[in-house]
Symmetry: C2
Subunit: 191 residues, 2 copies
């Protein structure tokens, strides 16, 4: 029914096709147009989202009114404002589609019921969060270790297709500097 999600779940736990069908009942398929928002600051984050097609980004708006992207999610990644999702308090982030995107939404209530009814999914999500946490630790280390210029070149080498799908100014914002400076870096590396 949802082959991408099924494959992803099966890399962490083994679940029969019958149980899998039940599990899928908790999810809702959702389609988003480019630039459409899934979550706005001030709302509670109602669901956690698994991307099956396209790209989501999470961002916030700083005191100067500038958007800061903190995370991207492409196919096979989960995305949510974790804190708001857990506690159902007002979100500090926005979630927006970078291109036309399809997601599987697991609403907060369904999430709890799913984990209650299917203990294997506790393990699945434990693994998912463990990896996500490990990934942010690596990212934090990398940020500390390298200059903005090095960051960009590393990103460019390790995620080449990504660069072509996402506008420059979002890359700059994600890497933590201005579009103007990114432009300067690119100019240097051409000549």
């Amino acid at each position: 029914m949802y082959p991408l999600l099924q494959a992803h779940i099966n890399t962490f736990v083994s679940i029969s096709d019958d149980e899998m069908a039940e599990i899928f009942g908790y999810f809702k398929h959702q389609t988003l147009k480019k630039k459409e928002n899934l979550l706005n600051e001030g709302q509670a984050c109602k669901a956690t989202y698994f991307v099956t097609k396209g790209i989501l980004r999470k961002y916030f708006i700083n005191e100067k009114g500038v958007e800061q992207t903190t995370e991207f999610a492409i196919e096979n990644w989960w995305m949510t404002d974790t804190f708001s999702f857990i506690s159902q308090t007002t979100a500090e982030f926005y979630i927006q589609a970078v291109e036309n995107t399809e997601v599987l939404a697991l609403p907060r209530d369904a999430h709890d019921q799913l984990l209650e009814a299917h203990p294997a999914m506790e393990k699945y999500f434990r693994c998912v969060y463990q990896r996500a946490y490990a990934a942010t630790q690596k990212r934090l280390k990398f940020r500390h270790e390298h200059s903005s210029e090095e960051l960009y070149h590393f990103f460019r080498k390790s995620q080449p297709e990504f660069l072509q799908r996402v506008p420059q100014y979002l890359i700059a914002s994600y890497l933590g500097f201005t579009p103007e400076y990114l432009s300067e870096i690119r100019k240097k590396s051409i000549s």
Copy 2:
């Protein structure tokens, strides 16, 4: 037997005293002197650690030979090189005791056996990692949003006892700037 850990587990799942006693069997109590290392770069991270007394820090050494602290753990926090712990590959971080410290170590094998035998612990760890992940997201946002000076003042207000337990140069390294600059910030705020 381990009241701090018991209380912590019980905030997420309810477990009988009998089962709890079994669970504790998987842990090993360990004592560390100030500056003693629990993990060195290049080793695999053998266990995940729950701090019952004292402070641990996680750090790495950058290309200039300078130590960069990326995380602290005080009482009631878990600490590990998550990536190395999961995959048993060589660690990228060091873990060191900031003061004389006591931990409960859950070795990698015991971790898997524990989760197998006690499904409630899957939920517990799912919640722990979910929160840890949410916390790093908040931290990332905060770093983007504020100057180094603001970072320090916020830290100072929200963790006053912590400042007295940890030397300045570790605080500076954790917040992402140099001890010299921290000194300058402090000078400003006194006058």
